[in-house]
């Protein structure tokens, strides 16, 4: 059971660094949401920044990979993403096709490298 819970300090860190930062924005949205027009210029900008931040997260995982993903060479990770994107576009924007193609390229590349 103690394996399942781990240490309590980590759970406290989760609350401070994970839960609070997210709920603050949701509750601010709840609080100020009424006064903002959906198509307002401020929201267009906030949405653009939010999309770009998410794009940054994607780039970070691919460029500075965590855990076991770091065992895959740079060129192979980039090739997998490019191949996935090509499949995504060719399949009329099927997320599933893109993910499967990217995974196949990475697995095949790793297998070929031995």
């Amino acid at each position: 059971m103690s394996d399942f819970i781990g240490d309590w300090h980590a759970l406290l860190v989760l609350l401070v660094a994970g839960v609070l930062p997210n709920q603050i924005w949701r509750m601010l949205g709840l609080w100020f949401g009424g006064g903002l027009d959906e198509g307002s210029e401020l929201l267009v900008w906030v949405r653009a920044v939010a999309t770009a931040v998410l794009a940054g997260v994607i780039a970070q995982i691919v460029v500075q990979p965590p855990g076991a993903l770091a065992s895959v060479p740079d060129w192979l990770r980039y090739s997998a993403v490019v191949a996935g994107f090509a499949a995504f576009m060719l399949s009329r924007k099927s997320i599933f096709a893109g993910v499967v193609a990217g995974e196949i390229v990475m697995l095949a590349g790793k297998w070929w490298l031995g």
Partner: protein
């Protein structure tokens, strides 16, 4: 619940949380920690940032800043969805759980489904859809965690690659306006440049710059 099962994005969500479960395992967090994060944070990108920053030895403050930055995108999502669920008699406290459920997947699905739901039933609908998606997230977190504990390095790497692929394509699919596309492409390209600064808030820097340029393009298009 029927809608929960029928969404393609539910599959993407499942795949993403398998990745998050695996990542939690590889960075030595407990399964309870990973499940609590899914339940209470309920935002994939924020969870990944939290795990990877803490895992790479960042302080609580650095991790909190990085997570706060990625969570900013929840603000416009909540702001744009809540008016769709509100009726003249709705109190703010009725919308707290709705606000909690809002994340990328819910946001997209609300736009798709809510117009077909009678206004007075929309809050109940969001509660149902949200709980269903959270259950999928919790199940996938557990599966990913257990898989990572038992898989070879090759398959563990494959599971970790699911996250960026799923996010990239679902964001690309949701980008309907020019500003969204510019923000996505520039955001991808500018992060590697910004990361050379090692500021600890590189993602914020590249995000604000890319997002502002995208907004500029939007203004320029609107005038032309």
């Amino acid at each position: 619940m029927r809608c929960t099962g029928s969404t393609v994005l539910a599959l993407v969500l499942f795949v993403t949380y398998i990745g998050i479960g695996a990542l939690s395992h590889d960075t030595h967090f407990s399964l309870a920690w990973a499940l609590t994060a899914t339940l209470l944070v309920w935002a994939g990108p924020a969870q990944i940032i939290l795990i990877s920053t803490l895992g790479s030895g960042a302080t609580i403050v650095q991790a909190a800043i990085a997570v706060t930055v990625t969570a900013i995108r929840l603000f416009p999502m909540v702001v744009s969805v809540l008016p769709m669920t509100r009726t003249p008699t709705t109190k703010r406290r009725h919308l707290i759980l709705v606000a909690h459920f809002i994340a990328v997947t819910m946001w997209v699905e609300c736009y798709r489904f809510l117009p077909q739901v009678p206004r007075e039933r929309r809050i109940a609908f969001v509660h149902g859809l949200g709980s269903g998606l959270v259950c999928i997230g919790l199940t996938a977190t557990t599966i990913g965690y257990l898989l990572a504990a038992n898989l070879s390095q090759l398959f563990a790497a494959a599971i970790l690659l699911l996250t960026p692929l799923a996010f990239l394509f679902s964001t690309a699919r949701n980008s309907r306006e020019v500003a969204d596309v510019v923000a996505l492409v520039l955001g991808l390209l500018l992060y590697p440049v910004a990361s050379l600064m090692h500021s600890g808030v590189d993602i914020l820097v590249s995000g604000v710059v890319a997002g502002t340029i995208a907004y500029g393009v939007h203004r320029w298009k609107a005038r032309a």
